[in-house]
Symmetry: C2
Subunit: 146 residues, 2 copies
């Protein structure tokens, strides 16, 4: 059985989990209200916009977003219906599939990005000083490795 | 228009948002697989278990969990169906409603807590040193205030 958390650990954990959950909800609500996109949509658009030729294999995209195979399939199907991405066979391997950013997807990202940036600054970045930002980077790099 | 993020800000933000999102997904998946509870179920059980007489007005519970009125109604209805909480009129005010932890809800929390603690330690707390935990507490206290 794991040791119970110390008072300091308990306070850090509760503060982090409640506050980060509220932040995710706030980011999602603002983005949807302003653009109709979900945070998952937005992250897919960002990752594809940074990929060579705006395309990535489905498995690679799932890895980047830490999505299960069924979640990435569902997410991409929904975005295909809305014209934000399309799916096509991988050129080097007939069996795999790639997600490709469409012009509409790129346009949606370009109009959403400045609005999302305001929310990100107001609710997180502009509240922290450079030392705190450096600790956030170090901590969440450690947390990311499962 | 907001200033673009500096490189340090951009790295901190991307690391935090991707890693904390993956952490939430991991906590949710582990908890569901081990106990059948969602993280929202778990947080409602924790908050009610700490409240006087294990009961809270719906509005207060929504505030603690940063839930909208419609989300808290949906969440509590789902938990009522599973016998984890019940709803009853507030004793001091016939119009309001309270959520009350049931014996089954308390038992579900008591059997889930030690399993959830292992996940919390492995995926977050045990990866950070005391200085990092102190910064996490300070940062997420600042972030929580919308």
């Amino acid at each position: 059985m794991a040791d119970p958390l110390s008072d300091e650990q308990q306070i850090a954990w509760r503060t982090f989990i409640e506050s980060s959950w509220a932040l995710h909800t706030h980011l999602e609500d603002e983005l949807r209200a302003q653009t109709g996109l979900s945070m998952n949509d937005y992250h897919v658009l960002v990752v594809l916009s940074e990929a060579p030729e705006h395309r990535l294999r489905m498995g690679e995209l799932a890895g980047r977003l830490v999505f299960s195979p069924s979640r990435i399939t569902y997410q991409i199907s929904s975005m295909v219906k809305r014209g934000l991405v399309r799916k096509q066979p991988c050129p080097d391997d007939g069996r795999g599939q790639e997600a490709v950013l469409t012009d509409e997807g790129m346009a949606a990202l370009e109009s959403a990005a400045p609005l999302h940036l305001i929310t990100v600054r107001d609710s997180f970045i502009d509240r922290l000083d450079p030392d705190e930002l450096a600790v956030i980077t170090r901590v969440f790099n450690k947390v990311r490795k499962v």
